[in-house]
Symmetry: C2
Subunit: 357 residues, 2 copies
Amino acid sequence: MQTLHVDLGERSYPIHIGAGLLSQGHLVVEHLKSKQVCVVTNTTIAPLFLPTLRSQLTDFDLLEVILPDGEEFKTLDTLSTIFDALLERNFSRSCTLIALGGGVIGDMTGFAASVYQRGINFIQIPTTLLSQVDSSVGGKTGVNRPLGKNMVGAFYQPKAVIIDTQTLLTLPERELKAGLAEVIKYGLINNQDFHYWIKANLPKLLAKQSEALTYAIRTSCAEKAAIVAADEREGGIRAILNLGHTFGHAIETAMGYGVWLHGEAVAAGMVLAAELSLQLCRIEPKVLAEVRAVIEAAGLPVTLPEQLDSKTFIQLMRKDKKAEQGQMTFILLDSVGKAAVVRDVESASLERLLSGD
Amino acid sequence: MQTLHVDLGERSYPIHIGAGLLSQGHLVVEHLKSKQVCVVTNTTIAPLFLPTLRSQLTDFDLLEVILPDGEEFKTLDTLSTIFDALLERNFSRSCTLIALGGGVIGDMTGFAASVYQRGINFIQIPTTLLSQVDSSVGGKTGVNRPLGKNMVGAFYQPKAVIIDTQTLLTLPERELKAGLAEVIKYGLINNQDFHYWIKANLPKLLAKQSEALTYAIRTSCAEKAAIVAADEREGGIRAILNLGHTFGHAIETAMGYGVWLHGEAVAAGMVLAAELSLQLCRIEPKVLAEVRAVIEAAGLPVTLPEQLDSKTFIQLMRKDKKAEQGQMTFILLDSVGKAAVVRDVESASLERLLSGD
């Protein structure tokens, strides 16, 4: 087991990473403040991992809330289900919520914990590679509204994150690859050595080799933790974590959520960001080739979906919340291992890029 | 105009109190971060005060959300109305929410501000005496669930509180008196001089004399601010603010919400707390007489509702979230101007008190 400490003053917490941690109940128990514990999970995850977690918590007053699986249930109505289950069992302010599942479960459970009786204990057990390397650090929680994703939420830190790499053994290959997109991102934005390590170890990662996964997850979390610690409320540098994401969100919206996985859209988005970086003379062609090569080797898309025409795409990009009058903000690359927030990109540059001129 | 500073480190904010402040737009404008401003109010308050506020904000992109009036609308569904209105107008993270109304509007708007895009600016303009002396300090925001009041919410501080005592001129007399219950509370729990000032000035307060109201509001807010500053997240001493409230909540629940106003229930509750304090030999009979006298002089109830039998009442008290196995926590008086949190009151004492033995 490896442990990483996320340093946020009085909101600091540990991230434990290793094979079989779900069976090490003490990692959960040491953070509980009372007998009242509520596990929130979904219908896909529950049969896989809930029995093991349950067997570690036999001394506790355990409530299990099993939600339907899917981003379309990331709503205030689903949150109400959690609140009412807690209230029916008279769960007090000293109870603990445990999120067992992927990003949707983590985002909703964290948000529920942040507002139930104005804030209760919260532990994360992420079970997908994406949630392990992304949502387990940063404290972003929330739900969607019909007019926007993640538009309602809170910054709220867990008491601990427990990452059992064995949960990835049942993860579909496509989701594993989508998670790798975010792992690759950490190398590209801030850590050249990690980038070349990923490139060399992609076969082990794709084969779900535990040691390689542990190292990749630990390094990804450490990169994110360092950036978040420098900018907890997302005022500045934290934005580099969004490399590929403005493009990626537009792809997801255009295709309809779920058609492309988030990681797939981010992968293609990172290639586009590299292409724009080249066009704006921030990088040389070999850097673009390097970005494209690692993403391709991970089995991820490197071009826009064929069905998507560039006009629709540009309109969607403009609508993104980060766009501001005429000029747009992008995360661009300056080299492998170095990204920058660039606030004054002319939308004409974007149009030139996407029209292929 | 008088200004009080609530000292909470980087979350500190001013409370401005005076006659006619609604016409002093600069008090609002200096806290706005962008042109996007949303006023949340209700159908009762809007015709009275919205035109004045609107006239101060002609240079801004003003959105007005007018909700139905009543505690029964303090729900997540009503919050969704606010979120969707903001999203439809593309209101960004730099927008500001203004709560114009009583406690329900303040609680909901503050909660909406705390979670919209994970936290935006928030200004409070409370228009009832209760909300001016109670909810404008402390940062408690939230909504109700069918199984419990204020069970979902956040601690979230406004950027400023603007109290225009002229808004009280249209306040129904019964609501003014209910607000006075909380003013009286501040004297009883922590400030003997203020208690005797209130007693001497009740006729002026009941006549809505602006200078007396300003002093009473300012002193009440200062008392609450000092207690909250010492205990922002309600770990200990802050509980003395609940004098009369455990009894009061049980009265409200038993009668059905809205039959007795919150302040009326708290008034009777404070007399009961004094009676229990006497029974437990914490005070002398003359202190109880003093408590009863000031509450009676304010035109507030000093006994339980006649319809309420003591058995039902005791059961409701036990169900209150502050009750714990066999022993109950009460806020009791040690003298006029001094309250204490007492955690080990036997429920038998309560039964003796209420059965009149």
